[in-house]
């Protein structure tokens, strides 16, 4: 049996989904589309049943890709749980009536039931159930109230004869139902509503946005640095280092295998950043330098997402984003890109036109440094002082802006207008947040760790074969002449294709000046995307546009690097 969870966006569908299903869930694309859905399993009458979290839809007469997919998936389900936002009955009934009209076996979950009381909404559930002719169960996704009853009433859902109605007749019917089941009482503005409005009005909204972003940044650094300083750094130096030193001695402190696994000894000891072996730098960079920031970044981003702040940021920034050929909502994939460019570029799917997706993907892969790279920028450039870190960020932000302005001028077409629902502020349930955070961190470890190790391995083998000496000599005039970097830096730029964090780490032992590090960081951030981003760009944009984006990247990276070298 296959149960479909359907409903408008922002009705708490995913929360109910994670209540119904266990830990084992799969996110995948609907065949032939870029629309993602999640699938899990639940127990129903002693049997394992499939539960699908269908993409949010306002109507079955599709107005978007997600809605087209929802309609397609409807054909493959046996039973629908339609999740309705009880505080928004009228609009949500549109979808419910369409499901009932089609004769689909349906059970309705009247979700967010707890909020109806303090919003002065009174709904007569029995009457609603009678008028609709399907089971209606009030639920509170966050606490799990009503979910058991919802499940126990699934068997009452029966396939019925389809009804024919025009759109007009449907809205009339909804009006009649609302008149009979819902009464509203007046009540005063709550503190939450005052906050909600303040955050989208320009005069109060912009300071709030600055404060939120500033605090987010502070919290990310606080947690990231805390994890490194108090947990991972001691773990690696106190526990892991002695062990790995023994292995180094056992391997004879040198030789091919030693160089691959442990790397070079720096002043007779292992230096986790400079030694560059699989078991030293290969593990230290992703786990002790990057992972803590990935964790803290996604934690804070998850809070911003699930409380409902991001759509408000989209409204505030809509004007700016339009100048870059995008609309306000495009700020979300850009923010995601600060964690890792891959989900950022995947996130551009929420944008409708090909033009927008190209601009957004190019901006993310060029101007938005991922958390791994940022962690290394803080680690390496930060040693020379905060002003150099600011220089890197300032340059990248300027590049992001200018590139968007230029692309918007050069590319044909226009940016479509913003049209979004602004959800109320909600306290996110920790269960869904933890699940999401866990999936994201697991994703990083599974995808990044093998690539980092591969990167370190490739570097060591190429060193052994003296390929780098050849490359370095070849590129020396270029690298030295334009960017002012020593010829050895070419190795880092090449490795940047595999992992940017490893690449920046390779600049460490070169004894660069602060200015050179700034140039190196900026060029690395802007130039060729890492291999994971490269593959995603190819998948999302197609070969032609991917090559176009890559061309822009390489050209702008050397242009900006060259300018920086001249003025610093």
């Amino acid at each position: 049996m296959r149960i479909l969870l359907m409903g408008n966006p922002n009705v708490g569908k995913s929360v109910i989904f994670s209540r119904l299903t266990g830990v084992h869930v799969i996110a995948s694309n609907y065949p032939g589309t870029t629309v993602e859905f999640t699938k899990g399993w639940a127990e129903y009458k002693g049997k394992r049943v499939e539960v699908i979290d269908v993409p949010g839809a306002y109507t079955l007469e599709p107005t978007s890709k997600a809605e087209e997919v929802a309609v397609e998936m409807l054909k493959e389900g046996d039973l629908v749980i339609d999740i309705i936002d009880a505080t928004n009955l009228e609009r949500n009934l549109n979808l419910a009536l369409q499901l009932i009209e089609r004769g689909v076996p349906t059970v309705i979950a009247l979700n967010i039931w707890d909020e109806t009381k303090h919003r002065g909404i009174n709904i007569n559930v029995e009457k609603l159930e009678k008028l609709l002719g399907v089971p209606v169960v009030p639920t509170i996704g966050i606490t799990g109230e009503g979910i058991k009853e919802l499940f126990s009433r699934l068997e009452e859902a029966k396939r019925k004869k389809p009804i024919k109605r025009t759109e007009h007749q449907r809205w009339d019917e909804i009006g009649r139902i609302i008149d009979r089941v819902q009464t509203l009482t007046h009540r005063h503005h709550t503190l939450r509503e005052i906050l909600e409005e303040a955050s989208i009005r320009p005069l109060s909204g912009l300071p709030i946005a600055i404060l939120v972003l500033f605090l987010s940044f502070k919290i990310i650094r606080f947690i990231g640095e805390g994890l490194i300083g108090y947990l991972l750094e001691p773990l690696f130096t106190k526990l892991y280092l002695p062990l790995i030193m023994k292995l180094s001695l056992f391997l004879g402190s040198g030789g091919f295998l030693h160089d691959i696994l442990i790397g070079k000894l720096i002043e007779g000891g292992i230096d986790f950043i400079q030694s560059f072996g699989l078991l030293t730098t290969g593990l230290y960079v992703p786990l002790a330098m990057v992972l803590p920031y990935i964790l803290s970044f996604y934690l804070v981003l998850g809070i911003l997402e699930d409380t409902g702040y991001l759509p408000r940021l989209a409204i505030l920034l809509d004007n700016l984003m339009h100048r870059l050929g995008l609309h306000g909502y495009a700020i979300i994939p850009n923010l995601l890109g600060l964690g890792c460019n891959v989900p950022g570029i995947l996130g551009t799917r929420i944008l409708e036109s090909k033009r927008e997706r190209f601009i957004a993907s190019a901006l993310i892969s060029i101007g938005v440094p991922c958390a791994a790279l940022q962690a290394m920028i803080f680690g390496l450039v930060g040693k020379h002082g905060g002003q150099y870190v600011s220089m890197v960020y300032g340059t990248l932000f300027l590049v992001w802006l200018l590139l968007g302005l230029i692309l918007n001028r050069v590319l044909k077409g226009f940016s479509p207008p913003l049209l979004i629902e602004v959800p109320p502020y909600r306290l996110p349930p920790w269960r869904t947040m933890v699940k999401k955070l866990w999936m994201r961190i697991l994703g990083f470890v599974i995808e990044a760790l093998p690539l980092v190790l591969l990167g370190v391995l490739v570097v060591n083998i190429l060193y052994f074969l003296k390929v780098f000496d050849f490359l370095a000599n070849l590129a020396a005039p270029f690298i030295h002449g334009i960017l002012g970097l020593p010829k050895e830096a070419v190795v880092a730029l090449v490795i940047g294709f595999l992992r940017k964090d490893v690449a920046l780490g390779m600049l460490g032992p070169l004894n660069l000046t602060a200015q050179q590090l700034v140039v190196g960081s900026v060029v690395l951030a802007m130039s060729f995307p890492c291999i994971a981003t490269f593959i995603i760009l190819l998948k999302e944009l197609g070969l032609k546009d991917m090559l176009k984006a890559t061309g822009i990247m390489i050209f702008s990276a050397f242009l900006v690097g060259g300018i920086l070298n001249l003025i610093l």
């Binding site: 107005t63 609009r91 809205w171 049209l419 602004v422």
Partner: protein
């Protein structure tokens, strides 16, 4: 006196009744799905400066829409 103005000319906090949506089938349907259709009562909550998006309340939900789109939604308001 009853006046017909576009959503963009509505004052903050003022409400009116939607009487016409001057747009194609696609736009009308997308707006209807979000609850904005002729006959509905609509309240303007805020507008960003420099022709930025307009946020309105319809029923119990808030919808933000681009300036151009908002200018094509005609509402009826009572003015003293």
């Amino acid at each position: 006196m009853v006046k017909q103005i576009s959503l963009t000319h509505l004052r903050r906090g003022q409400s009116g009744r939607v009487i016409q949506i001057m747009g194609g089938f696609g736009m009308t349907r997308r707006l209807a799905a979000l609850g904005i259709r002729p006959g509905k009562r609509i309240t303007k909550i805020s507008a960003m400066f420099m022709r930025g998006p307009v946020t309105v309340r319809v029923g119990h939900s808030d919808i933000a829409l681009g300036f151009g789109m908002a200018s094509r939604i005609i509402v009826e308001v009572k003015e003293q």
